[in-house]
């Protein structure tokens, strides 16, 4: 665990909301989300498809599709609020200070340019450098993510899946961002490749003392990369805390189910938990606590009123009317 996380946060998100406008109404993909990420800290956002975790990433970088709009809240990056910035103003922050690794790295490169040229282009757009210096920097980046510098002049199709993901990480690190957002960067990869990418990501993060937001549906991966975990459900963060606390003493019933629904290869074979029902439609989310239709502990109050934030410790809270004993 890093102790740098106690210093002033790099990122503070306050009551952030982002809706997608559709013909049938607004999809409330991110709704009243607040959290902070310390310098050098690694935060994991975990949740199932459609819970809003990738939408948060796109909102933080302001890479929203046309129908997505920020409806409220602040995105404070070292004190500067990114939420009201125009696209031009945003460009000075994006990639320089806040960068992203995408899930489909294979698709995030242009197939007709070499990978090296694309990283150099990213460098030259954001930092004024000479071609020689850029080339040197690309070589450094390739070594940082354990890619053979001989591949700098190769095209994306010549890279394997794991290599493309490494190149994606190299590109995101090009301008030494303060904060890196990684959205399911290993989901499409085999476990042995995933293992190596996770290790490299952790090493790079520590070496550069960079903050990391790691987004995944996989509790096991989150357990390995994050100091702190935020559990998301239906556009909201329902539980937040240090990774050990979340895994040892989950307070929210959803976190508990998520945890025990994961089969394990080692250790005793436990009964797998299951949830009835389906994740809610965010066009018209359930009233009160959004988890109440699927929650085994739900009572009348859960249906009508927003759950309070209950603190288990200074660093651990859950939004629930009936939190489990912490």
């Amino acid at each position: 665990m890093s102790n740098q996380s106690t210093s002033a946060p790099v990122l503070r998100v306050e009551d952030l909301g982002m809706y997608y406008g559709t013909r049938s109404g607004d999809v409330k993909a991110v709704d009243g989300v607040s959290f902070a990420v310390g310098r050098g800290e690694s935060v994991g956002l975990v949740g199932e498809s459609g819970c809003g975790k990738s939408s948060i990433a796109m909102t933080l970088l302001k890479l929203l599709p046309e129908n997505g709009r920020i409806v409220g809240g602040k995105i404070l990056l070292d004190g500067t609020d990114l939420a009201p910035l125009s696209e031009d103003q945003m460009r000075t922050h994006r990639w320089n200070r806040i960068a992203m690794v995408f899930q489909a790295a294979m698709n995030s490169f242009n197939p007709v340019y070499t990978v090296g040229d694309q990283i150099i282009e990213a460098l030259e757009v954001h930092i004024e450098t000479s071609p020689d210096v850029s080339m040197e920097r690309v070589r450094e980046l390739f070594e940082l993510v354990s890619l053979d510098p001989g591949f700098i002049g190769r095209y994306p199709h010549e890279y394997s899946g794991g290599m493309k993901q490494r190149a994606g990480i190299a590109m995101a690190l090009a301008c030494e961002p303060d904060l890196l957002i990684a959205d399911e960067p290993t989901t499409a990869l085999d476990v042995i490749v995933q293992d190596r990418i996770l290790k490299e990501l952790r090493d790079v993060q520590q070496a550069l003392n960079m903050s990391l937001i790691y987004i995944s549906h996989d509790m096991a991966v989150i357990a390995e990369v994050s100091h702190t975990v935020g559990v998301m459900y239906a556009g909201r963060i329902v539980e937040w805390g240090e990774t050990v606390d979340i895994f040892r003493n989950p307070m929210h019933p959803y976190t508990q189910t998520l945890m025990s629904a994961f089969p394990s290869v080692t250790g005793p074979k436990h009964e797998l938990a299951m949830l009835g029902g389906e994740p809610p439609n965010l066009l018209n989310p359930p009233s009160g606590c959004r988890f109440h239709p699927r929650c085994p502990y739900a009572t009348d109050v859960c249906k009508s009123a927003e759950p309070p934030r209950v603190e288990g410790s200074d660093t651990h809270w859950a939004a629930c009317w009936h939190p489990l004993e912490a």
Binding site: S49, V191, E224, S264, K269, L272, M274, E278, P279
Partner: protein
């Protein structure tokens, strides 16, 4: 000579499926107009048995040949070598690799497949009823007037209840978990005794996944189905399969009771695969993964052990000898390694 009909009671007698030296090679042309001289060895001479009522797992990384094996076993692909003996208990075992016409059609009635992606495997322009009733129509398995009733009962069985609310909806109106239940219903409606399930839960969220896994398990028991369960996820295999085979580059490298293989892996590849699986516990530490490099190419592999180039314990003997045969080692599992 046939012993009673199919059912779970016969486990341990004659195997339902006996695979012998199964092989599938895909020719690769070096140039558009040239004839092909090299080939991808997708499945390279594998043998195993699948008992009645058993759930047998094929695990491995992408490109190891597990899906191709599954497709060969239901004849969605033609093998280039080897035999698959299918013994439905009604007479002598038949080699399905040579079936044609009507014989093939009647085999398909007993062997079905469930695909990985329920977003791709259902026709978006057909209602749930049309999709699930299709096998009944093709196989002429029940009179048209009874189809509605039969489909309704099947939907109920896969947990889509009440069926009336699903029958005339389209796939886009359903969630991923519901779609996969429809795909299961379609595979099971003609009462097959053998089902190849190709990563049936890998596209589903965890909270939905357990439900689908439990459903497949209970249906196997109720309907006397044997599964070939294909997955890249060792943890899922642990819950679904009594025995597993680990594949690497078209070969089975280790095979045995699931717990024996996962708790005491003998092959260096199985060991690496297991130590690479993240543990959902922040205080746990994993043994470092011992192997390096990526999966070698299956294009005309050298005759030695397929794992040679990445193996941490390979020696000169491994280099100079053919791919090792499967031999019984450790807790009764069979391992293809000279040094394990």
């Amino acid at each position: 000579m046939a012993v009673a009909d199919t059912g779970v009671t016969e486990v341990g007698t004659r195997p339902l499926i006996k695979v012998e030296g199964l092989e599938k090679r895909f020719p690769v042309a070096s140039h558009w107009f040239r004839r092909s001289h090299s080939s991808v060895h997708a499945v390279d001479g594998i043998s195993f048995e699948l008992a009645r009522g058993e759930s047998f797992g094929l695990v491995g990384e992408s490109g190891c040949g597990k899906t191709t094996t599954g497709r060969l076993l239901v004849r969605l692909a033609e093998p280039t070598g080897g035999h698959v003996l299918f013994d439905d208990g009604e007479g002598a075992a038949t080699d399905i690799t040579t079936l044609r016409g009507e014989e093939l059609k009647s085999f398909r009635r007993k062997a079905q497949m469930i695909f990985q992606d329920p977003y791709e495997s259902l026709n978006p322009r057909r209602t749930i009823f049309d999709t699930v009733a299709e096998p009944l129509k093709v196989q002429d398995a029940c009179p048209p007037l009874e189809r509605l009733d039969r489909v309704s009962r099947m939907l109920e069985m896969v947990g889509l209840s009440p069926p009336a609310t699903y029958l005339f909806r389209y796939p886009h109106e359903l969630s991923g978990g519901q779609r996969q239940r429809v795909a299961i219903a379609r595979a099971l409606i003609i009462e097959p005794i053998f089902v190849v399930a190709d990563e049936p839960t890998s596209m589903l969220d965890v909270s939905i996944r357990t439900g689908v896994m439990n459903l497949m398990e209970s249906l196997a028991e109720r309907l006397g189905i044997s599964y070939l369960y294909i997955t890249h996820d060792l943890a899922v295999a642990r819950y679904m399969c009594s025995r597993i085979a680990v594949m690497y580059l078209g070969k089975i490298v280790e095979m045995g009771d699931t717990e024996a293989v996962l708790q005491h892996p003998k092959h260096p590849y199985t060991q690496a695969l297991l130590s690479a699986v993240p543990i959902p516990d922040p205080t746990a530490t994993r043994a470092p993964v011992q192997i390096t490099g990526g999966v070698a190419t299956p294009l005309d592999p050298p005759p030695r052990c397929r794992f040679y180039s990445r193996c941490p314990i390979a020696d000169d003997f491994c280099r100079d000898n053919p791919h090792p045969p499967l031999e019984t080692k450790g807790d009764g599992q069979r391992v293809a390694c000279y040094n394990a």
